[in-house]
């Protein structure tokens, strides 16, 4: 499956400065692992050693947080949009 990945400002230096990358993979985990293989500098920023998502990384597939859709096992369809965002304090608080 080929999808589009949107990169937040904080991760761009490790991904060659780009904000959007075309990615391949059938699950979120697969996509992130391939990304780590291509850009070793991102290692540790996306996945923990046990393959789970970094605590402060939120991953959305078409705006849905994948932690509630099976985590790294969440499936990716063609033309899906994957967005990475850091977990930050926000909202009307």
């Amino acid at each position: 499956m080929s999808a589009v990945l949107r990169v937040p400002t904080v991760l761009r230096p490790a991904l060659g400065g780009v904000s959007v990358i075309a990615v391949e993979g059938s699950t979120v985990g697969e996509v992130l692992l391939k990304l780590t293989a291509t850009y070793p500098a991102i290692k540790g920023q996306l996945l923990n050693d046990d393959g789970t998502l970094h605590r402060f990384l939120n991953v959305y597939v078409n705006d849905d947080d994948v932690r509630y859709l099976g985590g790294v096992e969440a499936s990716i369809a063609n033309d899906d949009e994957i967005t990475l965002l850091p977990a930050v304090a926000g909202g009307v608080w």
Binding site: V10, Y68, V88, A89, G91, V92, W93
Partner: protein, 321 residues
């Protein structure tokens, strides 16, 4: 009409109104709980009163003792609510506020007698939290209620918002609210799930992670301790992000049903619509969505009157949500 002894007695018991005109499906009812009806104008009145009551019970604050100082990071609503309660109880409040919030929020804080400490706008809410933590460590005599970690925050919703919703909408199937400190979702979510385990709890996330560029790396991220303490990942069924454009579009659409809401409520309504779209045609559902505040303190954003492209662009630098 009722008569009340104090403005604080006006907190809570907010109305729920049917806004199903905005529902994309005839079999899905959408109800809005109007938290802007609280006296200082937002859902955070509940939290402010609850946290100060708890601090007084615990002896952290002593009513009538002079010169007691509180410090709290806030992008607006909690600060405003705390300022109102502090004014009534005689405490001095310092609010750490990012410089890039809408000016109405600053004015309201000043109106209630709070002192504003600026934090860098580019660091967003994270920066305000960090600065408040630093200042409270440096001034241990100040009382730091820390809404992100204070159990009295979700407790306010467990004890008031949740019971009100279930009493007014016993047929509720889905609850949709914004994820800031997570207090509303954790308190109401736990209350509802204890009584109706089948109810779905949906968190709507504002697009703050997109605009905050002050993070040096991902390890500077932040998860509210309340969320972790209440096993938020298990409590929530879905978490959806709503972008600035969609939030503003739905803030405008809320006026079609007569609701002049704050911009985060547009995001919540967009989330409620996404939720409605997941319901099968042969099922019925009743969604309760929290309208956290009214639109008055966002008028300077031009959200209702300016070109939407301009408003979206400004939302990249000004904290609207």
């Amino acid at each position: 009409m009722a008569r009340f002894g104090s403005v604080l007695d006006l907190i809570g018991n907010t109305p729920v109104v049917d806004v199903s005109q905005l529902s994309p499906k005839a079999n899905v009812t959408i109800l809005a709980k109007l938290e802007g009806r609280n006296p200082a104008g937002s859902v955070k009145d509940r939290v402010a009163r609850s946290m100060i009551d708890a601090a007084e019970r615990d002896g952290l604050l002593i009513p009538s003792k002079p010169d007691q100082i509180l410090i709290e990071p806030s992008s607006g609503n909690t600060g405003i609510a705390l300022a109102m309660v502090c004014r009534l109880r005689g405490y001095h409040l310092k609010v750490v506020l990012p410089t890039n919030v809408s000016p109405e929020r600053k004015q309201l804080l000043l109106a209630y007698g709070a002192e504003i400490i600026d934090s860098p706008g580019s660091e967003g809410s994270n920066g305000a939290v960090r600065l408040a933590q630093f200042l409270s460590e440096d001034n241990p005599e100040w009382v730091f209620l820390y809404q992100y970690a204070n159990p009295a925050n979700p407790l306010a919703h467990y004890q008031t918002t949740g019971p009100e919703i279930l009493a007014d909408v016993p047929e509720i199937t889905h609850f949709v609210a914004g994820l800031g400190t997570s207090g509303t979702l954790m308190g109401v979510g736990r209350y509802l799930k204890e009584r109706r385990p089948g109810i779905q709890i949906w968190a709507i996330e504002p697009p703050s992670g997109e605009i905050v560029d002050g993070l040096r790396n991902l390890d500077d991220g932040y998860i509210p301790p309340i969320f972790t303490d209440n096993h938020g990942e298990e409590l929530l069924d879905r978490k959806v992000i709503v972008r600035a454009r969609e939030s503003i579009e739905w803030t405008r659409r809320l006026t079609e049903v007569g609701l002049f809401s704050g911009l985060s409520s547009g995001a919540i309504m967009a989330g409620a619509v996404k939720c409605a779209l997941t319901i099968d045609d042969d099922e019925s559902a009743t969604i309760v969505a929290v309208v956290a505040d009214d639109g008055w303190k966002y008028l300077s954003t031009g959200a209702w009157s300016d070109d939407i492209d301009d408003v979206v662009e400004r939302a990249r630098t000004i904290i609207y949500f």
